[in-house]
């Protein structure tokens, strides 16, 4: 335990007699009392008598420093501290510790903050354009020289992007088919038009929802994974190592991922289309529409142009998601949350791009009357 006794002497001094153990767990009350005793006697000089201090660690020394700081230099004196603790106290420049030498940065004013954000967006746009150029060049090079592609990496990534994603894609596609069928069949039944639910599911899933849902799932799964993986490599200087070995990180890391996504996303989309149709067909069974009727209806209304309208999109989506995931990974800065930020940004910008590009496709298809 730490103790404090305050006494005033005749020669205009106040003596603070400290005793016991001064460490982080014992000094809390003594510290506050001692500070009050000093500030409460501004007309007296202060002597801190540490004769009875048995132990004084870093926290105890901090208290002594703090007590000395309460007054002008020289007005507070510490006496009789054991030599071992005295050396601890002597190693500090008491006046320099008075204030924070490196205060945390203050918040910028709002206008400046907006400027920084806009400038950041501009820089990000520039980096995206540069990256698109680099990635395109790397992909063309790969197309012209297929032997330079690291196929072992491609197959490994294919497995993770494609095969491993099958269960979740199947689940979501099936759910989407069931929900669409069920929710539209109930009002349609009032008009005796349940059979047209098959048209709706066939067109909506194959043209829009199949590719889009697959792409969103891929952005959440593989886009984030690419960003985190490459981000960790960036933080660990593995990307620097590639660069200094003369290996272009884009060719080495990005190309295999984009190729893998290009191979797998259309397959997953195809799979999602089929499963969602299956979900719709099963639901419509409960509305007394047999499987065969459903298939015939879908066959009659959905033609190849509808199927390809969706299928073509999945290739574009694949490049977008893989590309943005890799870009965010390569942009990873230093710090603990950097990899997490990269993954988050990969998913967010991936989904935004999907929405924008899907809109562009809708306009093109409308103009071309597909």
């Amino acid at each position: 335990m730490a103790t404090l006794a305050v006494s005033d002497t005749g020669d205009g001094r106040r003596v603070l007699a400290l005793g016991g153990r001064l460490d982080a767990t014992t000094i809390r009350d003594v510290w506050a009392q001692a500070r009050r005793a000093i500030t409460g006697a501004s007309d007296r000089r202060i002597l801190v008598d540490a004769e009875n201090v048995e132990y004084c660690d870093g926290a105890g020394v901090a208290m002594l420093v703090n007590l000395i700081q309460q007054r002008n230099p020289g007005d507070v004196q510490v006496a009789n501290l054991k030599p071992a603790f005295e050396t601890l106290l002597q190693q500090f420049d008491v006046q320099a510790l008075d204030h924070d030498l490196d205060p945390p940065p203050t918040r910028r004013p709002a206008v400046e903050e907006i400027g920084v954000i806009v400038a950041g967006m501009g820089e990000d746009l520039r980096q995206q354009i540069v990256f698109i150029g680099e990635a395109t060049a790397a992909l063309f090079y790969a197309a012209l020289h297929p032997s330079t592609i690291r196929w072992r990496d491609v197959w490994r990534i294919c497995e993770r992007v494609g095969a491993d994603a099958l269960p979740i894609v199947a689940l979501i596609a099936f759910l989407l088919g069931v929900i669409l069928a069920f929710q539209s069949a109930i009002p349609m039944r009032k008009f005796g038009a349940e059979i047209f639910v098959a048209d709706l599911i066939g067109l909506a899933m194959l043209r829009e929802l199949g590719p889009l849902m697959t792409a969103i799932l891929l952005a959440g799964r593989s886009g984030a994974a690419f960003a985190a993986e490459i981000g960790t490599m960036t933080v660990n200087q593995e990307v620097d190592a590639l660069t200094t070995m003369g290996l272009d990180p884009v060719r080495f890391l990005v190309t295999p991922r984009i190729i893998a996504a290009l191979l797998m996303t259309p397959l997953l989309t195809l799979f999602a289309d089929l499963i969602s149709l299956l979900g719709g067909a099963l639901t419509l069974q409960s509305f007394a529409i047999p499987f065969v009727t459903f298939v015939h209806e879908v066959e009659a209304i959905v033609d190849y142009s509808d199927f390809f309208a969706g299928f073509v999109k999945s290739f574009v989506f694949a490049v977008l998601i893989a590309g943005i995931g890799c870009l965010r990974g390569l942009q990873t800065s230093a710090g603990a949350s950097a990899v997490g930020d990269a993954a988050t940004r990969a998913v967010v910008s991936g989904i935004i791009l999907l929405v924008v590009v899907d809109g562009v496709f809708a306009v093109i298809y409308f103009v071309l009357d597909i």
């Binding site: 460490d23 982080a24 767990t25 000094i27 809390r28 510290w31 506050a32 660690d57 870093g58 926290a59 020394v61 901090a62 208290m63 420093v65 703090n66 071992a84 603790f85 050396t87 601890l88 190693q91 500090f92 420049d93 320099a96 510790l97 924070d100 030498l101 490196d102 205060p103 945390p104 940065p105 230093a334 710090g335 603990a336 949350s337 950097a338």
Partner: protein, 256 residues
Amino acid sequence: MDAAGEPIIKVRNLTVGYGDVVLLERVGFDVRRGEVFVILGGSGSGKSTLLKHMIGLLEPNSGSVVIDGDDIITALGERRRAILRKIGVMYQSGALFGSMTLAENVRLPLEEYTDLTSDEIGLIARMKLSLVGLGMYTGHLPAEISGGMQKRAAIARAMALDPMILFLDEPSAGLDPITSAELDGLITRLSRSLGVTFVIVTHELPSIFAVADRVIMLDRRRKGIVAEGDPRKLRDTSEDPWVRQFFNREAEPVAA
């Protein structure tokens, strides 16, 4: 300090390894209160692994590690926390929290374990950081400073609560000779004035001769301690050629 010489850490019959690979077999030694104890050994001899067992991060295959009277391997809950409160650890890479400034890193244990006011904790944090020469960098994030500075900040954080025992994993690796010597001075000062016990894993020979009271040497091939004692004596008088080689920084003789 009065109790110098009495063992504060007792390691008994410790067998450690990963999976089927046994790194150390039935190792036993004492660390005395207030001494600077250095664990030496070639790469892959299990130095860092031994350290991880001594601070309770890994569970050994068998054996016990008693810190100040309590076995850290079997202690759970409050008892374990009480032991951990007595030790501070500096990890090889610093292991500072990247999202916090240096001052916040040092403040964290103080805020969690003491009930001092924010200003008081701030002062202690500044003092700890100025002790390792980082008084000008309290507001920096770990990513903004150099590797050597990160190590020093990590030592400041390990010292935040003034633990009885400080474990340092390769503290001077990657530091320039001047900073490294300053660090040695800091270790000696803390151990002499506060009676802090140091357990240090290091390869740096100058540093070992400057600070170590006692060393143990581990060897991968013999899976245990090959030498124990004052490093200066071991260098000059050890009968084991490998030990003399180590201290005299000689290459292994090439087998004919």
